[in-house]
Amino acid sequence: MKRQIGFLFPLISLTILILGLSLQMFNFPPLGKLLDPFEGIVQNGYDNLDYNGSIHGMAGLSNQVKIFFDERKVPHIYASNTEDLYFAQGYITASLRLWQMDFVSYISAGRLSELFRDPSYLDYDRRQRRMGFLQAARESLSLMQKDNETVKLLSAYTKGVNAYITGMEDRNMPLEYKFLNYRPEPWTNLKSVLILKYMSGLLTGYGEDLAMSKAIITLGQDQFNRIYSDYNNYGSPIINDSSQVSAQIPSFLQKPNYLDYSFLSSGTVLPPSLFNPKLGSNSWAVSGKKTSSGFPILCNDPHLGLSLPAIWLEFQLTAPGINVYGVSIPGTPSIIIGFNRDIAWGLTNGLDDVMDWYKLKISNDLKNYEFEGEWKKMQLTVEEIKRKGQRSFFDTIYHTIHGPIVYDKRFVDNQTGLLNFALRWEMHRPSNEFLTFILLNKAKNYKDYDAAIRHYTCPVQNFTFICKNNDIAVNHQGKIPVKWPGQGKFILDGTKCAHLYRRYIPEDSLPHLLNPYCNYVFSANQRPTREGYPYYYNGYFLESRANRIHELLEKENNFDIAKMERMQTENTNSFAAKAIQELLARVDNSSLNSQQQHQLQVLNLWKGAYDFDDTSANFFETWWKNVVNYTWDELKSYDFPLPFPNNYILLDLIRTHYSDPWFDVKSTSPRENAMDIITSAFIDALKESDKQKEKGLCKWSDFNKVSMMHMTYIPAFSRVNIPLAGHPDAINATSGGWGPSWRMIVELGDRPKAYGVYPGGQSGNICSNYYDNFIETWSKSRYYPLHFYLTMKEAQDNSTSVWILRQ
């Protein structure tokens, strides 16, 4: 017995120890695997970017491919045909960013329950499946498979990724896999499409339909149109042509007859607004007639969530018929924003509302819905959600002609207001965005560019374009349904045929400009047209940056790269510059003490700049925030919160309606006017500012901190609290976790000259020197020269390492 215990005890202890160190325990990853010196985390210190030599076993390549890495480890790929080129792009992307692209595909598909046990991930996955991401990706993939070129290049990319996964040794597996205790799965074409749908969801997934419906019912159409108007007097639209005036589309929206309290569920809870006003971008193009070189210049800085690994990956792709440089999204082939020898292009978010909710009338047995007086049977699909360590969850989703029912009694998700509503989202319609970029990458002129962007449907994007021959253009591009005035701004009636969209705004009628007389084009998420455009459309447009860009482009006539760099990193908020003057003019000086008067004098000198060391910027922010809160206090008094109206609307109210009832603070008995609000807001702001000064917070950069979070939100993998200049309403739109995810300036000519930077690094390996090495340059508003090589010899002569992919 003693002998048996003497043997069994150590054996069992050994077994338990091995098991315990191989599994995730509490919040600790498997410590045995993690700290193993031979295959654990320490092995991720090996940086494959330091490798120099051949890589064999590339099944799927027809010829060898050479990749020259420059000093910033941007890969310059030289292939002998386009299939090999995209294969190589897939291989390199996987080498550098495998976990990132894999993880995003899981997020998009609603598969996080396979990786994490926490039950909240099941809710997330159910939401993703019901919102239709996976289904949309499947349908788009079916469409893409009908286009030979797309499927050929997409499949080549997939093969490249899989070649990397197959050849990868366990010790080189990305750190995140080890940390989260799972392994990469084979890549598929579907996963690439899922990544596109994820981007689409980020850029169009916001809606205010329910809030606006509540607003127009509660406030009445007159007040609604005063404060939630689609247009204001401060825009700088894409189309300047005021001759396109049409009396047919009024900007005043009538309250739809069907929309009343009984139409909307009573007692609905509106979820907090997910609107992210920082999710926008800037892009402008200037013809050679306004540049000192005589050649056109294009600038683009897309604003996205700043994350690590960075959202973009730089490449130069070269094969017969194609030589293009720019940034790609890991997991998808081709260059998304960039340039070649002849053209350059940029992207900004269109911000059109392409997401609508239809209220349904459902039968008692919950299997049918009414449409034009008849019952129609709902179609149903069953989504299997696999779960780590548990049986799969099967979610039944009901579909109507409008789209899926996202929230029902089986999945309420705090959205009682949208219960049993069907979702119509343009993202659900099959589309082939890849073809747009495949064609743009090899486009040589405006005609090629125009043909390429016609394949682009969702999300609506503004494309800016320049060509070596001095053509410049901007296109508000995508599928926008033809709507009656107000359609889509409010909840729609799912029982009525008249509420369906029947057609889209014709391609040639979409807002666009080619070679305007002013010799520049620009887009910064502003409303693309003035009133009078022949089609109604609504969206979440932002005017401040566009206004400033317009001002600067109008003033200058001799642009060069240095001036563009200063412009692209400029910190002036044109809204604030206007608003401060209006506020200063309306403060009641007589009621202020000497300290307060002094502060007014200091503010008088401020021109709206959110510079690093500025000491007035934060005061204005606090002052304006108070004015907003005190004016719109009524909107917070309802049992459902309403979004605050556009800042320009309030500015107009201050200028033109001094005694408007909106300025009356409901909780006080005297009746306030604009001056009262502005003065008390000022006094309260000064008190707050004094408290902040006591804590040592004074300069704008003390308040404006930017963080680039790793996708796991682990601070040690992220870069947090970087003090910066900038503001969401300034061209340099840095704030919180958002900002210019890529800055690019391109001047075409005999040889394109380009400069760029993004806040991150080429490598997704946390241990690599190339993980975050660009951040300092980016945060100091500096740029790197982008090496666009015309020959392989140039690439070779300037390379720091070379990979040769061989069969």
Partner: protein, 146 residues
């Protein structure tokens, strides 16, 4: 005698370290794969009835391998991977190395010890009192024959 014993122990520790290195770098098995040949070594030690404190030898060898190897790779690659992981859990790098060493030490020590005990289980050792009885038995047989 004393120095021979020390030398023998050091040699054994070195052998165990080499076994761990060869298993994990050349054979590239699962992360705990080295426990199998170490277990075999423990069995061999017991089979040959070498008087070794198997757990201590194994622990020292495993501790040194895991902690020093992690340090070596971290310095060699000039990266801060382990430092980063340490900061995730708010340990110092030294504590993390210590934990790694403890894991390696415990596993190796237990594997070597289990190997020894396996042989003891299969081939039970004769007790000293039994050996004395046998001596008496043999002496009696010889005397009877005389």
């Amino acid at each position: 005698m004393k120095y021979t014993r020390y030398f023998f122990n050091i040699m054994l520790v070195t052998i165990v370290i080499v076994i761990i290195w060869i298993t994990q770098t050349i054979l590239s098995m699962v992360w705990w794969g080295f426990a199998v040949p170490v277990w075999l070594l423990g069995a061999l030690i017991s089979y040959n009835k070498w008087k070794i404190h198997t757990f201590s030898i194994g622990f020292v060898a495993g501790f040194l391998t895991w902690s020093v190897s992690n340090l070596y790779f971290e310095l060699n690659y000039n990266s801060e991977g382990l430092h980063t992981i340490a900061s995730v859990y708010r340990f110092s790098f030294a504590i993390l190395l210590l934990i790694a060493g403890l894991i390696g030490g415990l596993l190796t020590g237990l594997a070597l010890y289990t190997g020894e005990k396996t042989i003891s289980y299969i081939y039970p050792r004769r007790k000293k009192s039994d050996m004395v009885k046998a001596d008496v038995l043999i002496t009696n047989v010889i005397n009877n024959e005389k």
